[in-house]
């Protein structure tokens, strides 16, 4: 196995993981602060991707497309929070699951209504196209390197915001004791809307960034949403650090498993059945990872112990 191929796949896995982190960070924040399980987070990812594709098609500017994705997803998030989600905070998880499932139906069909069933495409801008040569002679697409860098930048920005700023202190306080910070004069419902919009904006950004690699279509959000769930179950719900480590673990396992498991089985099996067993096992690898981590630690790697 050439080292270049391995390095390339590791980078692919890293890039996938970083994009998952953008989704998982919002989910875990929303759960940590408001105690809400939000199935509609994947719809916000889709909203971001569609907004970006529409604006890119209209203006031709990738930067404006990203901006549009952030704004559209944040606005959609804020509206949904004010109209629906706000009524769900003191309901049980079943009601939250159902209401956000209903939101998925509305978002997906609404998008299909506006944009039709055919996938849209977002192009990689010229200045980010083409490969770069990394140390060690590895050729790797510049765009994917940019994704990794942008994701890490957002992750550290988010970490700094939560650790150092006033709003971050309020978010952390909200996770611990929402009555107390309300009593201390923080407008809790405004804080909730803000956290929800922030999570939505991150999801929208992820949608727009990934939309250039994949096609932009209705239903693109849900597979990512479920992977983001796996990530936060692994990392521990409410923990940003857990979300980061969980996403990278999941991204690497999924990418490397898909490439190397079929080859691994070829060492001692005939090629046809090795490929079929390897790829079936690879598609299940992250869920097996999740079960193992749960047996070891039922509340995830960085979750609070009951």
């Amino acid at each position: 196995m050439p080292i270049v191929l391995i390095a390339e796949q590791v980078l692919n896995g890293l890039q996938f993981g970083i994009m998952l982190f953008l989704m998982a960070a919002g989910l875990t924040l929303i759960f940590g602060v408001m105690g809400l399980i939000n199935l509609a987070h994947g719809s916000l990812y889709m909203v971001g991707a569609f907004a970006a594709a529409a604006v890119a098609g209209w203006t031709g500017s990738f930067f404006l497309a990203l901006l549009a994705a952030l704004i559209a997803a944040a606005c959609a998030g804020a509206i949904v929070e004010i109209v629906v989600i706000r009524r769900l905070y003191d309901r049980d998880h079943l009601d939250q699951v159902l209401a956000t499932f209903a939101l998925i139906l509305i978002f997906s069909e609404g998008t299909r209504w506006i944009f039709g069933s055919f996938p849209l495409f977002l192009d990689i801008p010229d200045y980010l196209a083409g490969p770069v040569t990394l140390p060690g002679g590895i050729q790797y697409p510049l765009y994917r390197i940019t994704l990794i860098a942008a994701g890490l930048l957002v992750a550290s920005g988010l970490g700094l915001m939560i650790a150092k700023t006033r709003i971050g202190i309020q978010i952390r306080a909200g996770e611990n004791d929402r009555e107390m910070i309300a009593a201390l004069g923080v407008d809790i419902s405004k804080l909730y809307t803000l956290v929800f919009a922030l999570g939505a904006a991150l999801a929208g950004l992820a949608g727009a960034l990934v939309g250039t690699i994949q096609s932009v279509e209705v239903g693109m959000g849900e597979p990512v949403l479920i992977l983001a769930f796996v990530v936060i179950v692994i990392g521990g719900i409410g923990s940003i650090k857990g979300a980061l480590i969980g996403s990278i673990l999941v991204g690497l396992t999924d990418t490397l498993g898909g490439v190397f498991l079929p080859q691994f089985f070829q060492l001692f099996m005939e090629p046809a059945s090795a490929t079929s067993i390897g790829s079936s096992l690879a598609s299940m690898a992250i869920y097996i990872l999740m079960s193992v981590i749960l047996i070891w630690r039922p509340t995830g790697l960085f979750g609070s112990r009951p």
């Binding site: 079943l94 139906l105 209504w113 849900e222 936060i232 079929s276």
Partner: protein
């Protein structure tokens, strides 16, 4: 307010009279639609035990529905191609006999429910929801990559499987068979809800600490409920595959898991007939709204949102007032 027993009798009589009318008026499509409703109802009756009585919000019940479907698909596929399912360690042959297929479907889905339940019940609340969802995806992706049985395209079965003494290709006879199974399962559920196990399970949902204090193992109660629930949903999956004579990975899809929960909620959580009403309403909506607009899911979403936000207790709750079983 209507008494719940009257309402249940009314619902049952609808499920008898509508197909009877359709049979006399020679409307086989209506009978097929009703069969679909009955099978969905059976799947939801299964979930209702875990969700309504046990309080386990499983967002992965499509696993059992799909396993039941694939049990039928794999056995019938081997029977129609005259090949063996397995030759080692002993010879297993395919079959076209419904009772055998049902048995296999129930056994396989209970085993899966046992495994998933043991792992998932280590957690509670929101973790449980996400984990069952993740297991659902695991089976979904496995079925897609399992090229031996059609992979993404699924498996077609040419002729509906047989049941001794019946012509299952006749829509009304197949409907009767499915409806009879639903009635038997409903009767067993009614007994189960009132049994010591059902009462203890109900208590384990409300206050697990008290159940533990009197010496019962709350987790074990929930695990048994989850297994029985999975088995019933698996049986429904086998029937659904026979109705369509087709199985595909969409039977494992998480949307289906969501829809099974929706059946339970529209009708009324924890009520014996809640899932039946819910599945009936869903199939009716699917048929009538689907005929009106291509985008009928928007209306379904809006309706569901309204039920969750304003109409607690679903259709039965609205019609017959506060329930006794569910808090």
């Amino acid at each position: 307010m209507i008494k719940e027993t009257y309402l249940n009798t009314f619902v049952l009589s609808l499920f008898i009279l509508i197909p009877l009318w359709a049979y006399l008026a020679d409307e086989p499509f209506t009978i097929t639609l009703m069969t679909r409703a009955v099978i969905f109802a059976l799947a939801a009756v299964g979930l209702n035990l875990a969700l309504g009585i046990g309080g386990l919000v499983s967002l992965g019940h499509a696993v059992f529905f799909g396993l039941g479907g694939y049990a039928m698909g794999v056995l019938a596929h081997h029977a129609q191609t005259f090949t063996a399912v397995a030759e080692w360690p002993f010879l297993i042959e395919g079959t076209k006999s419904m009772p055998v297929i049902w048995l296999v479907a129930v056994v396989i889905s209970s085993l899966a429910a046992l495994l998933i339940g043991i792992l998932s019940l280590r957690t509670t609340g929101v973790y449980f929801i996400m984990i069952t969802l993740a297991f659902g995806q695991m089976f979904f992706f496995f079925s897609i990559s399992w090229s031996e049985y059609g992979g993404e395209d699924g498996l077609s079965i040419y002729v509906r499987n047989s049941f001794p003494g019946l012509n299952t290709l006749d829509p009304i006879q197949f409907y009767g068979l499915c409806f009879a199974i639903l009635c038997v399962v409903l009767f067993m559920m009614a007994r189960l809800f009132k049994s010591p196990f059902g009462l203890a399970l109900n208590a384990a949902r409300q206050t697990p600490e008290r159940v533990e204090t009197v010496g019962l193992n709350a987790t074990r109660l929930k695990l048994v409920a989850f297994v029985v629930s999975g088995a019933v949903t698996g049986l429904a999956g086998a029937l659904f595959a026979d109705l369509n004579r087709f199985v595909s990975p969409t039977m494992f899809s998480w949307q289906l898991s969501g829809e099974i929960i929706v059946f339970v909620i529209i009708g009324g959580v924890g009520r014996l007939f809640g899932p039946v009403v819910g599945a009936g309403v869903f199939v009716a909506l699917e048929h009538f709204l689907g005929g009106l607009s291509e985008f009928w899911h928007i209306y379904l979403g809006a309706l569901l949102l309204a039920i969750v936000l304003f109409g607690r207790g679903g259709v039965i709750g609205i019609l017959s007032g506060r329930e006794k079983i569910h808090d």
